[in-house]
Symmetry: C2
Subunit: 317 residues, 2 copies
């Protein structure tokens, strides 16, 4: 039957909801609609009512939001949803796909659901090892895999609230590790004694030295001994809170990347904006330049759609 001309991409995360009408061939986004109705918020709303089943309650929201996309009379479009919609607090829980996962997406567990006459959904599951889990990043990673070497090994790093480090070899993702770097940054910055010593400001080149200073302490595994120095430097040296902010950022990213000192893979970085800049500086402090590859913004922007199209292709027999 081949691939349909268009599909609808659904990216329903913990905190945000996004629908896109996508041209299958070009992956051009024809229409887009986002809300802040993350899975968590919708699940709380589900718990607060008793008229609908969990599946119906999530379906209702999907159908309702579809009305905000410019579909121009298109019918029978399939929605591909990766991320939290297949979790226990989503529409229908799917078991995690166990690693290894081949680059084509054939190993991903997904479920085709005909919800009613006009709504077909393909739910994509997360992935797991014996010790770690993810939901959403596996689809992105598979989307980016066309730009990864099919022979030999490497490491794909997707920074974020929960940074994912995916190890691949011979066209398969074989294992991964989650680092709570982004969440630790938020939690320490907002709820610890350091909160008064930190000020969130936009990146500027003048912060490079403090960032690299924190980074090196993280790489040297001096993280635990360095957190409180932020408070002490405020009291003793009047270090500006904006500088401390990037020192802490460096410290945590350094802690995340420290183990790379002892590895020999080439590292592929998949991040955008300031996150990309900070992780690139950080990787350059740990690895020789020839072992660092940076994904272009264009590939990253399309990564989820590419991955979702691969899943769609597994149904197009």
């Amino acid at each position: 039957m081949g691939l349909p001309e268009k599909f609808i991409s659904c990216d329903w995360g913990t905190s945000n909801f996004r629908l896109r009408l996508v041209q299958t061939d070009s992956l051009a986004v024809l229409s887009e609609h986002t809300t802040n109705m993350g899975i968590k918020k919708r699940y709380l709303a589900f718990q607060a009512q008793d008229n609908s089943s969990q599946e119906q309650f999530f379906t209702d929201y999907l159908v309702q939001q579809l009305g905000n996309l410019e579909l121009k009379g298109e019918k029978n479009l399939v929605i591909i949803a990766s991320g939290m919609l297949s979790s226990s607090i989503g529409m229908r829980e799917l078991p995690y796909s166990p690693l290894p996962l081949d680059f084509q997406g054939n190993d991903l567990i997904s479920k085709y659901i005909n919800l009613d006459n006009s709504l077909d959904v393909i739910l994509v599951s997360g992935a797991k090892t014996n010790a770690d889990v993810m939901r959403g990043e596996e689809t992105q990673a598979i989307g980016m895999s066309g730009h990864l070497p099919r022979k030999g090994k490497g490491l794909l790093i997707l920074p974020g609230t929960h940074s994912k480090h995916l190890f691949f070899d011979g066209g398969k993702f074989n294992s991964f590790i989650t680092f709570m770097t982004g969440e630790l940054f938020e939690v320490i910055g907002q709820h610890s004694v350091l909160a008064a010593s930190l000020e969130a400001v936009k990146w500027d080149a003048c912060f490079k030295n403090v960032f690299l200073d924190g980074l090196q302490k993280g790489i040297d595994n001096k993280q635990m001994a360095s957190f409180f120095s932020i408070r002490a430097n405020t009291l003793l040296q009047n270090t500006p809170a904006s500088e401390n902010y990037y020192f802490l950022s460096g410290l945590l990213i350094g802690g995340e990347l420290a183990y790379l000192k002892e590895r020999d893979e080439t590292v592929y970085l998949g991040a955008t904006g300031i996150t990309n800049s900070l992780y690139q500086m950080a990787l350059e402090a740990v690895l020789p330049a020839e072992r660092i590859k940076i994904f272009s913004a264009n590939v990253l922007e399309k990564a989820l759609l590419l991955g979702q199209r691969k899943v769609l292709a597994t149904y197009a027999i």
Copy 2:
């Protein structure tokens, strides 16, 4: 003039306030009164009024609480206050005493204040290096120093919300490092995604293996890569939240002590109760038994009073 027969010990921390009438020779506590009026709370109350100066506002509370001690008509008692009362949010800010600090307490900065005819206070300052600060622990450490070797070097560890590691050599504390271990445990446990996977339960020997497992990962500097495994283990293995609690505890304490692998000092541990048990297990995983010395509960209980008596002695010319 010699030492007075009795003195009043004031221990005013961020969250609690404690007064004790102490027999100087024996350090026996003759009367005790505690409240939860920590410095922080009192400082907020000070900011919310405009009748009194900051010094007067703290003095008023001290005088008022003295009425709750059984002083039996004793007059002209001196109060020795270490901790936060000499901070910027206390009665009168004193500069930090720079290290090194000799075991006798002679290097501690303190200030004798005659507040009115019946109230004399000796404010004891905190201590600092170029990169770290403390308030209160320096007095405890000096109190414990009679049980530390006066010749040669060693390390005194005082675990807590902000664990202090004090390095000494030849009868002087020369440097220290603060580890935010206790605070990180609270902040991560209460405000991160791990909160749902953790349950605070009393220590039981059945938790020893998970504690040691977390500990080893901390010692091996695999902390950053291990936080999220707590969440993953909840999802994948149904690991009980009570076990995760001690795994996280081990992970953080392991991270605090990891650097000891590369040191050669004998370590003196000053902790009580379950904290003492956990740190003792942790130290035994890093160091040979002959390099670990544990302070008795009795010495620890008197540590602050011993330190305060040493400060008092510097005034008894």
